[in-house]
């Protein structure tokens, strides 16, 4: 079938040779291709994104049935071998994580730990979807999780529930992300090319220097977890484009939602590329000659098979069927245009599933101050990667600094680069037009993205709003990594096609070399990929400084003060604090029992305030005053969602609430929902209280947009589940 060009499918044999291993799967895949009008696929991918009914490969009593079963088993065992190899060879990436302790000095090491620490606090307060981090900004609080993808935190939370401490949970999430990223890359490239290519792509991805940089130099948890989802999203959209079907749409949308939940920054950077991919493939399909090429391939194969095999062979029978299908099926231009609908629906469903997060994050982003994140040393400027840095062996644990002398590494990776270079020779030889075009697109994007990391692209950065979310040009390496890894896999597209060698029957040395050639070359490459990144497989593990740990609320405050990075504030705050009375209280061994600013109460004791209960997102007070125009100030900056409610105090009290049966029994109906004002400098919430004895509750609730987001997610989930059930029923 792939006479003129190399085939990119797994297990396929050589033209003119017995297809003992792969002949049957190839024929099946071709049948599917014909139905969908797209590229061939394999038998082994049906367990992944394939919902099409598994065709009966051949009658059980057919002449080749035994061989076929054996060959299928052989192919399956080979696939599982590569899967296991992927997992096993990915394990060394965990080395630094297995060291006792934690690499506290990594750029975001503390951030990752305290994000989870705060998330856990909120979860323990019974908040299923946390948005407010009460201890950030020295205890004043900050809506951190409203704008930060929560999936890595949820994953970490899972391990906290399993009994791990916060630091260990973070390390486990880092480790899982590394291993799973290899697995997802393997699965995608196995589908796109073949299992051996999947192994190479997966290991290139796992050991991609920027991946190790994210794991052990930056310790960026969300972005590390994002590495898991990028191949899944690519795979999903590839399937949706290659063979549009409902199952592919469902899983692709879920993968996209996962990416959005993990890192909105990554999703933001990646979505335009996905859109471009869809557009390019559509244009290509519209003007290209994919169908003609595919038909020509089948014609050639039929002709070849007719010459060599009897007409009773199942392969030829299926090829004839394909031939007929191609003759019958004449794709219309409109059909090609409609091919854009499945990816569009996928994107919308993915956005719908994740709207509980991204919708409020997008709309309410303007209510937080981001100057600390985009100003100062985080400001977009001269943080481009010099060309030499992309290919330099330099590595370090320092930070990115303007100019060429960064004390860290931004290399693409030796093995990855060399395999990428080889891909430019190999990809044009691929026979399958869709895979070839997909890989052309990846190559083009790789070159464009590499260009965008370098200083010569500064004009593009000023013209396009890239800096508003990418911050540092080197962050684009996170998208370059999957593309290069996939392209690295192309080195094995024709594996294990043997090359005739004009040698006499094997001598001992010949035999040994044969083993190296045909059985071990993926393993050799895999070993070299590991070796090329091995020097960078290290972390600076050390005991925490007082500004880092052991993990506690006090340590969190000290960390915030020392780093001056996590004191994010809402838009109502004019002066960013560098310490607080709340933090001081905790530092001296106390705890934060109330956020009421007692110093703002009248000195004449005309206002009585008693904190009844407090958790991450609410505080209930008993308030009493005889004077009108009084108010209570909370040491919490305002942010949309904070509401104040005045309840009637039902029971008599003698001024000592502790002796009552319980405050709840005394909380009466709602009296008022006073508007919240803020202090001019700090942005603290000021709630007016009416004369008399009341209960005042300050609560962080969902805004309308959050409610909309929640409902959209809920409905999307129902749609997703409904469609999933439908697909399942149709299958049965």
């Amino acid at each position: 079938m792939f006479g003129k060009k190399w085939k990119g499918c797994q297990g396929s044999g050589v033209r003119g040779q017995p297809l003992a291993v792969s002949g049957q799967p190839l024929a099946i895949s071709n049948q599917r291709s014909a139905i969908s009008g797209q590229q061939p696929s394999e038998t082994n991918d049906k367990s992944t994104l394939d919902d099409s009914p598994t065709p009966t490969s051949q009658p059980a009593n057919s002449p080749n049935s035994t061989n076929s079963i054996n060959s299928t088993n052989s192919t399956n065992s080979k696939n599982s071998l590569y899967l296991w190899l992927t997992l096993l060879l990915s394990l060394p990436v965990l080395g630094p994580l297995l060291q006792p302790g934690y690499y506290w000095g990594a750029h975001d090491a503390r951030h990752s730990v305290y994000f989870l620490y705060e998330f856990n606090q909120a979860i323990q307060d019974g908040i299923g979807y946390p948005r407010w981090a009460p201890d950030f900004a020295f205890g004043y609080g900050y809506p951190f999780f409203n704008i930060y993808g929560p999936l890595s935190s949820y994953t970490g939370q899972l391990f906290i529930w399993l009994g791990l401490d916060v630091v260990t949970a973070v390390k486990v999430v880092f480790g899982l992300s590394a291993i799973l990223s290899g697995l997802t890359m393997y699965l995608f490239v196995k589908r796109l090319l073949n299992p051996a290519a999947g192994l190479i792509a997966a290991l290139t991805y796992v050991y991609f220097p920027y991946h190790l940089f994210d794991l052990y130099v930056r310790a960026a948890l969300a972005e590390s977890v994002g590495f898991v989802f990028v191949p899944l999203v690519l795979w999903g959209f590839y399937e949706v484009m290659a063979r549009p079907r409902l199952t592919a749409v469902l899983w692709a949308s879920l993968a996209y939602a996962g990416l959005m939940f993990t890192s909105n920054l990554l999703a933001l950077m990646f979505t335009p590329i996905l859109g471009l991919y869809v557009a390019v493939m559509m244009v290509w399909a519209f003007f290209g000659k994919a169908k003609a090429e595919a038909k020509a391939k089948v014609d050639t194969e039929v002709e070849a098979e007719t010459k060599t095999l009897s007409t009773q062979t199942p392969k030829l029978h299926q090829l004839h069927q394909l031939h007929k299908l191609y003759k019958l099926h004449k794709p219309h231009k409109l059909y090609k245009l409609l091919a854009g609908l499945p990816p569009l629906f996928t994107l919308l469903l993915g956005l719908g599933l994740s709207s509980i997060f991204w919708l409020p994050a997008f709309i309410e982003y303007k209510y937080v101050r981001v100057d600390q994140w985009v100003g100062g040393r985080f400001a977009f400027g001269d943080d481009f990667v010099e060309l030499f840095q992309l290919f330099s062996p330099k590595w370090g644990f320092g930070t990115s600094i303007p100019g060429p002398n960064d004390d860290t590494g931004f290399q693409i990776g030796l093995a990855a680069t060399i395999l990428l270079i080889f891909s430019f020779i190999i990809v044009p030889k691929l026979s399958d037009p869709f895979s070839r075009r997909t890989l052309y697109f990846f190559q083009t994007m790789t070159l464009i993205l590499i260009f965008l990391t370098t200083p010569i692209s500064s004009l593009v950065w000023t013209l396009l709003p890239l800096s508003s979310f990418a911050q540092f040009p080197w962050r684009l390496l996170v998208i370059i990594a999957p593309f290069i890894s996939i392209l690295a896999g192309t080195i094995l597209v024709h594996y294990p096609e043997p090359i005739p060698h004009p040698q006499p029957p094997a001598s001992t040395s010949h035999y040994q070399l044969s083993i190296i050639n045909y059985q071990l070359s993926p393993l050799l490459l895999a070993t070299l990929i590991l070796l090329s990144s091995y020097p960078y497989l290290k972390a600076e593990v050390r005991d925490p400084k007082p500004t880092e740990g052991p993990v506690s609320q006090a340590a969190l405050f000290r960390f915030q003060q020392s780093s001056d990075e996590m004191t994010g504030q809402t838009a109502w705050v004019r002066r960013i604090p560098n310490w607080s009375s709340l933090a001081e209280q905790v530092e001296r061994g106390g705890e934060i029992a109330t956020k009421v600013n007692y110093t703002a109460l009248p000195a004449d004791d005309s206002v009585g305030v008693y904190s009844m209960e407090m958790d991450s997102v609410h505080e209930r007070l008993w308030v009493g005053t005889e004077q009108a125009g009084q108010s209570v100030t909370f040491l919490t900056p305002y942010y949309p969602g904070w509401t104040a409610t005045i309840y009637e105090d039902l029971g008599p009290h003698d001024g000592n609430l502790d002796q009552e049966v319980g405050p709840v029994t005394r909380v009466g109906p709602v009296v008022d929902q006073p508007p919240i004002s803020t202090t001019p400098i700090e942005g603290w919430m000021v709630v007016p209280i009416p004369p008399g004895s009341h209960f005042l509750e300050l609560r962080f609730e969902d805004t309308p947009i959050r409610i909309v987001g929640r409902w959209v997610t809920f409905i999307s989930m129902l749609v997703w589940l409904g469609l999933f059930v439908v697909v399942d029923l149709v299958k049965k």
Partner: protein, 565 residues
Amino acid sequence: MPQKLTPPTAQPTVTAIDSPPSHTASLPLLSTPASLILLVGLSLFALAPLFYPGFSQTHGGFIPVWNVLDLRANLGHLTWTPHIATTFDPLRSDGLLPYYIAALLPLSPPAAIKFTVGCGWVLGGLGMLLWLKSWLGEAGALVAGVVYLYLPYQIVNAYVRGAWGETLFWGLLPWAILAATYLVTTPKIALIPLAALFWLALGLSQLGLTHIGLILVAMMLLTIHRPQAFLPLLSALIGTIMAHVIYGLLPSALFQPAPTPLTEHFLYLFQLFSAHWGFGASQPGWNDGLSLQIGLAAIGLAVMTVALWLRDNNPVAPRTDRRLLFFLTATIALSLLQFSLTTFLWNFLAGLLTYPWQLLGFIGLCLSILAGAALWLDTRLTQPPLLATIVIIVVLSVYPYLLPNFIQPEIAWLNGPQATLGDNQLALLDHHFAVAIPGHTAGLNLGETTIPLQAHGPLQPNETLTLAVNWQPMQTLADNLKVFVHLVDANGNVLAQFDGYPQNGSYPTPQWIPGEIIRDAYPILLPDNLPTGPYRVYLGLYDETTFARLPVPDDNEGRIILDVR
């Protein structure tokens, strides 16, 4: 055993680009253009450091920059030779060709120099590919080119020694051999000038090595293509003689005595295989500051070739294959020339080179060919996965060495040295006067204890005048030298002085590495009775044991005279 050799005509040629391939060793994916593109792509790692926005610290320092700048100002003077901070020796110095190429390029001198080095380096790989593809096939020639590109010695030349003339020589050598041996299959008189031109280029890049190259190529031709060797040899000889003639016409191009006894720089066996890497200079004895290894990948692949070659029933190359025999023998012979046991042979060669280890490039060339031959001997190695594996191994084996010491030169340094000392041993790049201010003073940044003299005003008694300098050693300094700084009045009377070892003795001058920037500052306590200015400063270095000062051109007393302002 010439009787056992098959007639040369019956044997596939080793060199000619259009000779019929003896064996199809490549996959269809590797056409010649594809191989060339692949090789250029694979040279990225070698060339990447050249894209650093600055300069690399090499033994050559800024000498090429200064001389290129000077050549640009004197392009009309056909008798120009490099003379700033260097003494031009036609045999041992970097030749004129790299200077002229850089001077003619529309780039800044540092960029033009880096461009020349980069082009020369890549040319070597490409030349190997084109030279060997007819013998080794595209894949084998590609591997030979990659191995040649990533020879540790090539990296040493470019990023440690800064021997850019030599880098250009190694880049042009495969082309010169290709051009000469093209005449083997195309023996046309009209092609002789073209081939001679390549040898002329070689000679104008590094004349000493060209002689060795000529001997090697002559032996190769006489071994492999004896009947057709005349025309290629003639062309090479004409080119080399032309280079001699050109240098002979230059009045300032005088053959110099060896700067250091060549025989003191023989290698020790371990050095050829040592993983040591450094940026120091070559030292007499075993403790060289730079790496002089052959290269792990080159050796490994060559051994693999020998194993494939000598196995039973090898159908590709008989054990009497003269090409493999020649390059294997040449490798061994050239390696032996690195050791003191061959001192007697160097009596004939010593005038051509500065160090015996400069032959490492020829060893590398032979090993690269042998390395590529592995893919010729077993075509299954040309499969993309194994080809990529081999290429990765080659690059990976030297990857840690591709990290030069980068420097960000100040613009003033590139314009030329303020002074040179000794026999072009040390350059004063720049100097600044400052006055020490006790305690913290408003307007100074935290940690600053001096203010520039211009901002200070007239010097006052009891103040401390500081002379800050940037030195650049251009050769190894043998003696532990002290610095003297004399503050003198208009009549030359010494008012105050500083005498001491550089950097307070923490970094003695014998340890200074050629090309590195040595920042130093010398405090001069001004006397109570300091007269009013103007003042001058005499700066120099001397040997404390002999009181001999390092000579300074234009001053018989070994002083650099600086106006205090």
